[in-house]
Symmetry: C2
Subunit: 144 residues, 2 copies
DNA sequence: TCATAGTTTAGAATCGTTCTAATCCCGTTG
DNA sequence: CAACGGGATTAGAACGATTCTAAACTATGA
């Protein structure tokens, strides 16, 4: 038997709520809405503005400030990862595992590259007093 | 015989002027001043603001807008390379060759990693219609 | 149900950067 | 060497992304 839209909506909400609780975040209406959108599908890359547009288009009223707050809270809680590829916008990735990215600057598009396919060798020891936090690889691509 | 300050100043200016001419850039007073500072030593990493502070501290009057214009012109001319490691500021590197970076975010500090020491293997073919422009590796480091 | 601490919000503020339009100056020409 | 023409410089306004503020709201535990 196929699920009704209402039923799958409820499931989403329940899943999002559980995910937030598990991450130690209070499941407010706004966070549940945003989490539902973000984690409905896998490997999403959003900016604050794109997510705000999306949630607005879905007929839900959430302020842009809350989208920013939520993205940061989700990131701190380990639900998202911030990707730095552009000096004027921040991207957030729903894939928090070890992986890298293709970046198509002209369209602000990110594509995941699984960690297994790429290997970085020969990273030198950092200067004394410093330790490696993580190694980011960005493969910048162009049309044609 | 040691050179006087005035003599080395003149040499700097002459070298900077030649470099600008060679790059097809009109050697204005401001560009010569900025080029002298940038290329006096090797492997510098500056932001518009840090360079503006530096040139101002040297007692030279150059507007911030000109620093931005100049950094972009130098980059287009191949004298500088833009480094994207921070979603809120742009860094410019006087080393335009193939190499990578350590980035100490807490202090906005960049350190070059020679291309030879680091190797990236297994970069997959980009999606159809796209071609690789370049591969950037950023080793994010922390204190202690 | 109540209290409280955490959330949300509109709007102002901030920051880095770019734009505008007036002025300036480098290099060429006469 | 003076005049010219177009690129370069500039102050200040404008801009876009993000953060802040302070007031209103709400999830949660007692």
């Amino acid at each position: 038997m196929a699920k009704t839209l209402r039923e799958s909506g409820k499931e989403m909400t329940a899943a999002a709520t559980a995910r937030l609780r598990h991450a130690g975040l209070r499941p407010t209406r706004q966070r549940v809405e945003l989490a539902s959108l973000l984690f409905k599908t896998c490997d999403r890359h959003v900016t604050a503005e794109s997510l705000h547009d999306e949630v607005s288009a879905a007929g839900v009223k959430v302020s842009l400030a809350t989208v920013y707050n939520t993205l940061h809270h989700f990131t701190q809680a380990g639900l998202l990862r911030q990707v730095i590829v552009d000096s004027s916008r921040s991207y957030f990735d729903t894939n928090t595992g070890d992986h890298q990215h293709f970046f198509l600057e002209s369209e602000g598009m990110l594509i995941d590259i699984p960690a297994e396919t790429i290997a970085v060798a020969g990273v030198p020891a950092p200067p004394p007093g410093l330790s490696v936090d993580r190694v980011d690889v960005v493969v910048r691509v162009k049309r044609a």
